[in-house]
Amino acid sequence: MELSGDVLIPAPRAVVWAALNDPDVLKGCIPGCQSIEKESDTAFTAKVKAKIGPVSATFGGRVALSEIDPPNSYVIAGEGQGGVAGFGKGSARVSLTDEDGGTRLTYAGEAQVGGKLAQIGSRLVQGTVTKLAGQFFAAFAKACAKS
């Protein structure tokens, strides 16, 4: 499953970049995020509660950043285990460019689900992921504008 999109964030690029690397900001913006711990500059562990169709689970997983090119782009990859609900994993390239009124954030990547999620939730995944991404960026734009 592929996902891509872009959003205009009303903040300078340096601010947006800093927020993208700040676990506290991310925690506040990721829907259902219960915890996010920084293990190193490029690795986090996270706990996210999510509901996709009839499957609801808490996903524990790791997030890793690579191909870091501050303050322009990085690749964010994550995978989460939802216990008997299955697993989800994905990665996306996130790029920032200056634009009138702020910074344009563009993301493109792919996601995959397995187990019960794929079995009974698969056709709801795309819609759910799109919705969650929308919620995330709305909150993220707000957080960046504040700082």
């Binding site: 285990q81 216990g83 008997v84 299955g86 697993f87 995959q112 794929a118 079995q119 009974i120 056709r123």
Partner: protein
């Protein structure tokens, strides 16, 4: 047999309890002190298990034990049939552990079992088990599997289980070289999931006082499970293991096999000295019940100038899934390749079957098992042949049928058909369905904006899979006889113990009719007992439409023995010579006199032997018989389907469906009709609605009833059924079997009708299921293509 019970539509005795909620299914059984098992299944199609940490789960209040593959090191789930490749080598038979050992091979593979005081505790605790997987590339598509570097089993190169052939390749090639015309087809027989109404369940029980194990399970063949699990997996002798398969809510093949969960609960019951119960959720059924079909086939037929078949060549890839299910290897070979003559006198046939491992649920028999796949390819190919030859589809069949006076008929692919009359069957179906004036209905539908089409298929089935010596030589690891015990009680009522198993077929009625008729009793006086190894001497169970054709004959043989012994007793009581005693309508009479003793009087004398030939005869009136069939039985038939398609939506509606079948002698026409109806419904399901889909990672995408579409009443018309019954020559009762034919004959008739409806648009091919999307695409794809030309 001259009474009225045979051939009479006696109401099903068992329906009283089923319809009033008094059935006794496995999940209805609860044993004292019972614990509950939850099975953690692989979310990956293919992965290494790096680590399992069950410590948190094991500490949870109410959890009794957590077992992984390291704990349960037992025998492999065995395969009951060994097929040999053309080069003589045995099929690849990799181990199938009940709980995965270091590697998972399909979504749903068992990884860990949590046993707790309640099911809810077990399920919640399962959330705490941490399993670290290292995903591996999944092998899903059979065509790619044969070339993939990723191996489902490390020691099975190319993921190839076997490469099997039957027939005379040279004769076939010679015939193609001189053919007037050749018709070809390439098609997929879609993977199906049985979805029996009752999900599988199993309870293991262990008696500490004597070391006896009992397994209650949703099985079509409890004795086979006892043999397979006892001898191969858990090493428990038959004398210490009882297997009970109580009421079972539908099987359709999916409950033939020995499943991991049966071994897990039995083994765990022994370990914990407590009963352990497991009941599948519907989601688990989707990813752990054996699936059906899943073939990719190329076929071609060579014809002379009159459209007579000279030779047939078929290449098939058959999906085995990740492990060999109990009878998987024989389905695409001995239940498929050997049926390729169909109803036709094709002189030369050659087929190659490659069985392939993939990271999917194991595939095994599903209603029809190999024969629907065979009939589908053959009948679709015959339709193509008719088009190539510009012949009517019925006419090309008529020209190629085996003639009624050519039986017994030896096919070029091993089977010898004992009886049949295919011309009359088809003529009757053509009359009943209005085949000849169909064009009027097509024209009328066209005025309403609908595309109407008609399809025809004929089929032959080989059922009552037969002689043990023959199937043994073909690789079967079991005999295929049946056993019956008839117990005449002191006061003359009768209990019949049969080794077959009823899970919807109505044996309690049909077998009671057979016995009541022979012994001059009422159906109510005869009880039929099945499904318990502690009660029934032995049995091979129910599948392949064998219950009456094999199990019924075993009962008849036991009745012969009862009557023979009864005559001896009656001769003594009547002070006559045994040779003068006749038995009819429940009475032993001295020929030519009015002296008689009723069966009840004779049985009372047998159990209260005060006046009894005790020096020559043992007391009691109970006999056991085994019957090993002489041949398969060969039901046949002709199905005609008529559809209307809405070109705007692509929705196909079945408006008429006619089935005319030859079942040999029929004991209960109402039950036979019910079997035909159910089979056709499943065949229509395959043709229009059902398909099992995996994504490239081995994820089961159609894993619930939201995405896997089962037929419902409003998808089906009222069926027109008829028979032209020719008694089976090689069956002592003259019966043939009817359980699977509906699912065998109907899919090609439905798809033939869809293609016929779309043929004015130039459509010549359609894969199953013909969903509205596919049909709409076929309609519009053609339109676009035509516009572009």
């Amino acid at each position: 047999m001259d009474g009225s019970l045979i051939g009479s539509p006696v109401r099903r005795k068992e329906d009283q309890r089923f319809l009033t909620g008094r059935g006794n299914y496995t999940d209805d059984i609860n044993r004292p002190g019972q614990a509950y098992a939850y099975i953690i299944r692989s979310p990956h199609g293919h992965a290494k298990i790096k680590k399992i940490d069950a410590s948190a789960a094991a500490k949870t209040k109410g959890v009794i034990a957590v077992f992984t593959g390291d704990d349960m090191k037992v025998g492999s789930l065995p395969c009951g049939w060994q097929v040999k490749s053309t080069d003589g080598s045995p099929m690849k038979e990799p181990p199938h552990p009940p709980i995965a050992q270091g590697k998972v091979r399909h979504v749903g593979d068992q990884v860990c079992v949590v046993i707790a005081e309640t099911y809810a505790i077990a399920r919640d605790a399962a959330e705490k088990v941490k399993i670290d997987y290292q995903p591996l590339p999944a092998v899903v598509d059979m065509r790619r599997a044969l070339e993939s570097k990723s191996l489902v089993h490390d020691d099975v190169p190319k993921n190839l289980c076997y490469d099997w052939t039957i027939g005379d390749a040279k004769a076939v090639n010679d015939a193609f070289a001189k053919a007037h015309k050749v018709a070809k087809i390439e098609l997929i027989n879609n993977r199906l999931i049985a979805n029996a109404m009752e999900p599988r369940a199993a309870i293991g029980d262990y008696d500490r006082s004597n070391g006896d194990y009992t397994l209650y399970t949703t099985s079509q063949n409890p004795h086979v499970i006892r043999l397979l699990m006892g001898a191969f997996v858990l090493q428990i002798p038959e004398s210490k293991l009882r297997v009970v398969a109580p009421d079972v809510g539908g099987g359709f093949g999916s409950k033939i096999y020995h499943y991991a969960e049966e071994a897990i609960v039995t083994w765990a019951a022994g370990k914990l000295a407590r009963p352990v119960k497991w009941t599948a959720e519907r989601s688990e059924s989707f990813m752990s019940d054996a699936h059906g079909r899943d073939h990719i086939t190329h076929a071609k037929v060579a014809m002379d100038k009159d459209g007579r078949f000279l030779a047939l060549m078929v290449d098939t890839m058959a999906n085995m899934g990740a492990y060999l299910s109990t009878f998987a290897p024989c389905i695409p070979t001995y239940l498929h390749g050997t049926l390729l003559a169909g109803n036709y006198a094709t002189p030369a046939i050659y087929t190659n079957v490659k069985a392939v491992f993939t990271n999917t649920v194991p595939v095994d028999a599903y209603r029809g098992a190999g024969r629907p796949e065979c009939t589908y390819l053959l009948e679709r190919l015959v339709d193509v042949a008719a088009r190539e030859m510009k012949l009517d589809r019925a006419e090309i069949r008529r020209r190629n049928f085996i003639h009624a006076d050519d039986f017994p008929y030896q096919t070029p692919v091993a089977l010898k058909y004992d009886s049949g009359d295919y011309h009359t069957l088809m003529d009757k179906a053509i009359r009943l369905s209005g085949w000849d004036d169909f064009e009027k209905r097509r024209a009328e539908a066209k005025k309403r904006g609908k595309l109407r089409g008609i399809g025809i298929s004929t089929y032959i089935e080989a059922c009552g899979i037969a002689p043990s010596a023959v199937v043994g030589s073909l690789g079967a690891r079991a005999g295929l006889y049946e056993c019956a015990n008839v117990r005449v009680h002191p006061t003359g009522s009768v209990t019949v113990f049969t080794g077959t198993h009823s899970h919807g077929q109505g044996h309690e009625t049909t077998f009671a009719q057979l016995v009541a008729e022979r012994l001059g009793l009422t159906v109510e006086q005869v009880d039929v007992v099945h499904g318990d190894t502690a009660k029934i001497p032995f049995g091979m169970g129910t599948y392949g439409s064998r219950s009456l054709a094999v199990g019924g004959v075993a009962i008849a043989k036991a009745l012969d023995k009862i009557i023979a012994k009864g005559k001896k007793i009656a001769a003594h009581l009547l002070e006559a010579s045994e040779s003068d005693i006749e038995f009819r309508n429940g009475a032993f009479t001295v020929a030519g006199t009015d002296k008689k003793k009723m069966l009840g009087e004779v049985s009372l004398a047998a159990y209260v032997p005060h006046n009894y030939p005790i020096d020559k005869l043992e007391p009691g009136l109970e006999e056991t018989a085994f019957f090993d069939p002489l041949n398969f039985s060969y039901p046949a038939g002709c199905h005609v389907c008529e559809v209307e398609i809405d070109p705007d939506t692509g929705v196909t509606k079945i408006v008429n469906f006619t089935a005319v079948d030859d079942f040999g002698r029929v004991l209960n026409p109402m039950i036979v009709d019910g079997q035909v109806h159910g089979g056709i419904a499943q065949g229509i399901g395959q043709a229009l609605l059902e398909t099992c889909v995996y994504d490239d990672n081995g994820q089961l995408v159609t894993g619930s009833l939201m995405d896997y579409c089962m037929p419902r009443a409003d998808d089906l018309p009222s069926f027109k059924t008829g028979t032209h019954n020719v008694p089976a020559r090689d069956n002592p009762l003259g019966v043939k079997g009817c359980g699977e034919v509906g699912a065998i004959g109907s899919p090609p008739a439905v798809i033939g009708a869809v293609i016929d409806a779309l043929s004015p648009l130039g459509v010549t091919h359609m894969e199953m299921p013909a969903t509205p999307l596919r049909v709409w695409q076929a309609i519009n794809g053609t339109k676009h293509r035509k516009a572009a030309e």
